[in-house]
C-alpha cells in the first residue's frame, strides 16, 4: 500500500528488507516473552548489532554503519510496521549513541561507540525526575565532585531501557541552580554497581515489553573523565541541540503508525461483512478511511520534507516541533478512528490495532509534550 519515501534509495531499501526480516523473524516471536518479563532480551540487541542494524548513522571507524539518519528512520519504520513494541532502538541509536557521537571526546567515542554499535551495551538516558517534566530547570539529581569521581545522588523516572541498560547518560547538577549547573555524565552500570538501583518496571498502557523504569542513585561513582564532552555545565545546551532529531524520530514513529493503521483497517473493512456487505461499502467507513488516508498522505509529504532537511542539516527547532506535535496528534486520531472501524474486534488483543492505539498514545507525551511543542512554535511567530 505504502510507497517508498522520497528520500529513500535502493541501498536504504535493502536495509529496510534486512530490518523487516529481523523484526518479523527474530523479534516478533519473542514479543510475548518480552511482555511477560517486562523487557526485551539483550541477545536481540546483540543480534541487531551483528546484522549491522544498530547505530547505522555512526561512522564505521567507531563500529557504526557509516550511514545517515535515513538509515535509522528506516529501522524505525520497520519496527512499527512489524508491530514490535519492545525494542528500545530509538533511545539506543538515535539518542544515546548520537549524543556520544555529537559531544564526546575522541577517546570517549572510541571507548563507547563500538560497544553500543555491536549491541554489547544497551544505552539509556536518565533525564526526567519525579518532580520535573518539561521543566529542566528543576533537575535536582546532584553530582558532587570527590577527587576523580562524582558521587551522584537522586531519583529518575520514565527511563526507557532502564531495566536492560549498561550505559547511561545521566542528567545531573554539577553546579549551581539554573541551566548552567547541568552536566551530562556517562556511567557504565550493571545490576551490581554500588549506588545504582533500578526501580520497578513501570506498567504502562502500551509499549508493553519495553522497559520504562525508575532509577535511583545513592552516591553512584562516576569518573570525572566521563563528563560528556569533557566539560561541566554544558548539559543543557547539549540536550537542547539534540531535541530536533529526537522529535523528528518521534514523528517518524507516528508516521509509521499512521501508515500501519490505515493499511490494517482497509484490509479489515474489505474483508469483514455486516448487513450483507463489506464494511468498506458503508459510506461512513469509506469517508473515515478516505480522511485517514488523506492524513497519511499529507503527513508523509511533510515528514519527507523534514527528513530531507534534517539530512541536509537544516531542520530547525520550530519545524521539528511542528512535526512532533502535529504528526503524533494525527497518529492518535487515526488510531482511534481506525480502532472504531474494527468495532469490538479493535479492542481485542489479537487484533494489532488495539496495540497500535495504546502504543501510539504516548507519542503525544514523550520527547516534550505536544503543549510544549506548541509553545515553541508560538515563539517563532
Amino acid at each position: 500500500m505504502t510507497a517508498r519515501p522520497r528520500w529513500s534509495s535502493d541501498e536504504l531499501e535493502q536495509v529496510r528488507q534486512l530490518a523487516a526480516t529481523y523484526f518479523t523473524k527474530e523479534v516478533i516471536p519473542n514479543v510475548p516473552k518480552h511482555v511477560a518479563q517486562g523487557h526485551p532480551d539483550k541477545a536481540l540487541y546483540r543480534r541487531a548489532g551483528e546484522l549491522g542494524l544498530l547505530c547505522m548513522s555512526v561512522p564505521e571507524a567507531y563500529g557504526g554503519g557509516g550511514g545517515t539518519f535515513a538509515h535509522e528512520a528506516i529501522l524505525t519504520e520497520e519496527q512499527v510496521k512489524a508491530g514490535d513494541p519492545s525494542m528500545g532502538f530509538a533511545v539506543h541509536c538515535s539518542i544515546v549513541a548520537h549524543y556520544v557521537l555529537s559531544y564526546a571526546s575522541e577517546a570517549q567515542k572510541q571507548k563507547w561507540l563500538p560497544r553500543l554499535a555491536s549491541g554489547e551495551w544497551v544505552g539509556a538516558i536518565a533525564m526526567t525526575e519525579p518532580g520535573t517534566g518539561s521543566d529542566l530547570q528543576a533537575i535536582s539529581t546532584r553530582a558532587v565532585r570527590d577527587g576523580d569521581f562524582y558521587k551522584v545522588s537522586g531519583a529518575k523516572t520514565f527511563i526507557s531501557n532502564g531495566r536492560v541498560c549498561d550505559f547511561l547518560i545521566i542528567v545531573a547538577r554539577t553546579g549551581g541552580p539554573g541551566h548552567a549547573g547541568i552536566s551530562l555524565l556517562c556511567a557504565e552500570v550493571s545490576d551490581t554497581t554500588p549506588g545504582f538501583e533500578r526501580g520497578r518496571i513501570l506498567d504502562k498502557l502500551g509499549g508493553k515489553g519495553q522497559d520504562t523504569t525508575e532509577l535511583f542513585f545513592d552516591e553512584l561513582q562516576v569518573p570525572v573523565v566521563n563528563v560528556l564532552g569533557g566539560e561541566e555545565g554544558k548539559g543543557f545546551i547539549q540536550l537542547m541541540q539534540q531535541l530536533p532529531q529526537e522529535r523528528l524520530s518521534t514523528a517518524l514513529i507516528a508516521m509509521a503508525s499512521i501508515e500501519r493503521a490505515v493499511d490494517l483497517t482497509v484490509e479489515y473493512t474489505k474483508q469483514r461483512h455486516a448487513f450483507g456487505k463489506p464494511l468498506f461499502a458503508l459510506q461512513n467507513t469509506r469517508f473515515e478511511l478516505a480522511e485517514c488516508a488523506t492524513l497519511r498522505r499529507v503527513c508523509r509529504s511533510f515528514i519527507d520534507e523534514c527528513v530531507e532537511s534534517h539530512l541536509e542539516g537544516k531542520l530547525d527547532v520550530t519545524t521539528a516541533a511542528m512535526a512532533k506535535y502535529w504528526v503524533t496528534d494525527q497518529a492518535c486520531i487515526v488510531a482511534d478512528r481506525c480502532l472504531q472501524l474494527f468495532g469490538g474486534y479493535g479492542y481485542m488483543k489479537e487484533y494489532p490495532i488495539s496495540h497500535l492505539f495504546a502504543d501510539t498514545r504516548v507519542l503525544r507525551i514523550l520527547a516534550g509534550a505536544n503543549e510544549v511543542m506548541k509553545e515553541l512554535v508560538a515563539r517563532s511567530l
Binding site: T128, F158, D336, Q340, G344, Y347, K349, R361, I365, L366
Partner: protein, 379 residues
C-alpha cells in the same frame, strides 16, 4: 446539574460513601480485582446486595425496591464513578428487562429473585458474523421432542463467566425475514454443551466466546414467545443504551475529577499546570460536555420511566452516543493533561481510557446510534 429527588440524592450519597470506604484506594481496588485482572468482585457485589441496591429497579415481589430506570442509572453512574468493580451489573440490569416483561412467573422468580440477591446474568446475542447487525444471527435452536438443541457460537459475551444464566437469542426459523424466527432462551451457564472461553482484551477479563454444541434446552427455557425475540429485544433497547450511558457518565466524571485534581496539584515552571490557559480551557469544555451528558441521560431516563412501553429510539441513542463519546474524549484529554503519569498504570487515567474507548463500540457502535438517530429524521 440534573436535579435529584431527596430519595435519589440520599441513594447516590450512600453509594458514594460506600465506594469511598470500600474502593477508595488503589490498594482496595487491586485486592478486589486481582490487580485489575477482574472487572467484577463477587464479594463487593454481595455487600451491595445486602444493602438492597441490586434490586433497585425491580418490583418488591422479587426483592426489589420498585425504582425505575432513573434509579438504575443512578446506581450505574455512581458505582462507575466510585470505580467499584461491579462490571456484572450492566448486563444483569439489561437482562432483567425481558424477564420482567415477557418471562413466566417461574422464570422471573428464579432470575429476578437471584438478581436482587446479587447473582449476575448475561446476554448471549452477538456472533462472529453479527455484531450490531443482530438480524444476521445464525446460531440455531432446532426443535426436538421436549425442547430445543442449540448449535453455534456467540462472541463478545460480557460476564458469561460470572453469570447464573445467559439470555440466549437463537434462530428457531431458518426461513422468513432476517428479523423473524428468533427466540429467547434462559440458559443456565452450567448446561451441558455450553463452553465459555474468555477473550483477552485491552480491558482485562470481561468478555467471552460461548460455544453451544448439541446443547439441549427444555421447552420451559423459552423466554416470552417462540420466534418473537426481535420485538422483545427492541423493547429493551432503551434500557441497555441508557444504563451504558449512565455508567459512562460516571466514568467520565471520574476521569474529569482525577484530571482536575492532578492539574491543580502538579506544578511546572512554578505554577500549577491547570492554571495555564491551554489546560484551563480544556477543563471548561469537558465540564460543559459532562453537564450536558448528565442532563441528557436523566431526561431520557425520566421519559422512559414516565412511559415504560414507549420506544425512545432517538433519545436513547442520543444518550448512548453523546455520553460514550464524551467519556472517551475526557479520558483521552485527561491522559494528555497528566502527561507521562496518565500513561503509567499507577494512575487510573489509563484504565479510564481503556474503559471508555470500548464504550463507543459496546451496545451498538456510535455509527449505529447515528444511523438510528438519522432514521428518526426520515433519512
Amino acid at each position: 446539574m440534573h436535579v435529584r429527588t431527596p430519595e435519589q440524592a440520599s441513594f447516590a450519597a450512600a453509594i458514594d460513601a460506600f465506594c469511598r470506604a470500600k474502593t477508595g484506594t488503589r490498594a482496595q481496588r487491586d485486592a478486589l480485582t486481582d490487580h485489575g485482572k477482574e472487572a467484577h468482585s463477587p464479594a463487593l457485589y454481595a455487600q451491595m446486595a445486602e444493602l438492597g441496591w441490586l434490586g433497585v429497579g425491580l418490583p418488591p415481589e422479587y426483592g426489589g425496591s420498585g425504582g425505575g430506570l432513573t434509579e438504575i442509572c443512578l446506581f450505574a453512574e455512581r458505582t462507575a464513578y466510585g470505580l467499584a468493580p461491579v462490571g456484572g451489573y450492566i448486563t444483569t440490569a439489561v437482562a432483567a428487562g425481558p424477564y420482567l416483561k415477557f418471562a413466566t412467573e417461574a422464570q422471573r422468580a428464579k432470575v429476578l429473585g437471584g438478581i436482587a440477591r446479587g447473582r449476575v446474568e448475561a446476554i448471549a446475542m452477538s456472533e462472529p458474523g453479527a455484531g450490531s447487525d443482530v438480524a444476521a444471527l445464525t446460531c440455531r435452536a432446532k426443535k426436538v421432542s421436549g425442547g430445543y438443541v442449540v448449535d453455534g457460537q456467540k462472541t463478545w459475551i460480557s460476564n458469561a463467566h460470572l453469570a447464573d444464566h445467559m439470555l440466549l437469542v437463537a434462530r428457531t426459523q431458518a426461513h422468513g425475514s432476517r428479523h423473524e424466527g428468533l427466540t429467547m432462551f434462559c440458559v443456565p451457564t452450567g448446561t451441558p454443551g455450553v463452553e465459555i472461553r474468555g477473550i483477552p482484551t485491552m480491558g482485562g477479563k470481561e468478555v467471552n466466546d460461548v460455544f453451544f454444541t448439541d446443547c439441549f434446552l427444555p421447552e420451559d427455557a423459552v423466554v416470552g414467545k417462540v420466534d418473537q425475540a426481535w420485538p422483545q429485544l427492541m423493547a429493551g433497547l432503551n434500557s441497555e443504551r441508557l444504563i451504558l450511558a449512565a455508567s459512562m457518565l460516571g466514568r467520565g466524571r471520574r476521569a474529569f475529577d482525577d484530571a482536575v485534581a492532578y492539574v491543580k496539584e502538579r506544578k511546572q515552571f512554578g505554577k500549577p499546570v491547570g492554571s495555564f490557559q491551554a489546560l484551563k480551557h480544556r477543563v471548561a469544555d469537558l465540564a460543559t460536555e459532562l453537564d450536558c451528558c448528565e442532563l441528557l441521560v436523566y431526561r431520557v431516563a425520566a421519559m422512559a420511566d414516565e412511559a415504560p412501553d414507549r420506544m425512545l429510539p432517538r433519545e436513547a441513542s442520543m444518550a448512548k452516543l453523546k455520553t460514550t463519546e464524551t467519556a472517551k474524549r475526557v479520558a483521552l484529554e485527561g491522559m494528555q493533561m497528566m502527561g507521562g503519569y496518565g500513561y503509567a498504570l499507577e494512575y487510573d487515567m489509563e484504565s479510564h481510557l481503556r474503559a471508555t474507548v470500548i464504550s463507543t463500540v459496546f451496545g451498538g457502535t456510535s455509527e449505529i446510534q447515528r444511523d438510528i438517530i438519522g432514521k428518526t429524521f426520515g433519512l
